[in-house]
Subunit: 209 residues, 2 copies
Amino acid sequence: MRSYNRSVARLSFRQKVLRDREDAIVASVNRLLAAKGFDLMTVDEVAADVGIAKASLYKHFASKEALAAAAMVRVLEIALQLVAALQADASLDAFDRLKAVTRWALQTQLAGEMPSLPAQNSTLRNALMADRGYVDRLIELSDRLGEWISAAQASGRLSRALPPEVVLYTLFARACDPVPGVLRAGGSYEDEQLIEWVLATCFDGLATR
Amino acid sequence: MRSYNRSVARLSFRQKVLRDREDAIVASVNRLLAAKGFDLMTVDEVAADVGIAKASLYKHFASKEALAAAAMVRVLEIALQLVAALQADASLDAFDRLKAVTRWALQTQLAGEMPSLPAQNSTLRNALMADRGYVDRLIELSDRLGEWISAAQASGRLSRALPPEVVLYTLFARACDPVPGVLRAGGSYEDEQLIEWVLATCFDGLATR
DNA sequence: GTCTATAAGAGGATAGAC
DNA sequence: GTCTATCCTCTTATAGAC
């Protein structure tokens, strides 16, 4: 009995250590993806950043694509948690929620924590689409946002002239938009100000209201 | 005298052939950049697409970065011609002109002729910034658009709440926006319709007017 | 599961003949 | 200036000892 407990304890301890290590790996991948993108990020870099040998990395993740997928799952998970929190806030309507999640995406991007994947790399795309964890969460998030989009259109705050699909893809695209980063590189503005401007261009447009 | 003329004629003929070949190279680079992006485009591919040996390519262009720069110069040149044409059209005001050039960018992108370069690749960025032909045209285009932006703000059609810089970068970003391509991949809409929607999200925003 | 060492191959760039 | 053949570096991935 006692040895059983100890074995269980040791097992879960080891599992915890492993999980922590994998978390560290995914966190590194996340930062590197945000900083350099998938093509320029090398597995050597990831290993060096985590502080382990490259071969050890491959014991945890089968390929570079799997690393990227894990990073995407992580950020999707965070997004889904935010979405749940916003859903629970009764003081917000659907439009406010869409704006809030977009603001979070911009903040995350400026913080260097939004992994950006090239839409063009078909090898990566295929790997992601074959990854159940990624696809399921992406669909889940799309569904949740889709509900908000429909509700916001019904309430009249979001333009009814645009198909929900167009709105959804536009919001996803803003999460990886280069504009905030370029503006920050210009150096003239505070991050908060800059995010409000980008949010304004997104929801209110460039034309005068 | 005669031999002088003949020699001149032959020289300019050869120069024309060379220039045609370089045009063909740049056109290939342009398409490949639009289709795969800089990192995934290989020099071997370019050579195969043009139908010459890779070593011959390097007689015309010193590096892969130089190829990309040439493609960017080409598209900037086309953009500048369009800008001049729009400037000459007295029936348009500054706001209309900005919208027209944005529409052209979206059409060009959907036609697979808008080379897209990663903002993250510093090697490429350095090479571009060291290229006078590229930088001069980029500044020229930015100045022209900047004038329109100021004018459109003065006339009240373009939002005065946004710094001209923010508007300019937003327009540049729309030229490489993934949204049109993703929407087309969805397959449900005509290109024209799709472009109008993206234009609407850009100038009028997602919110109801 | 971690390491060192290395395989295997892609891709940018060049040598040298013509 | 065009070609073939090759160099060389970088990068993904794995072998095999511990």
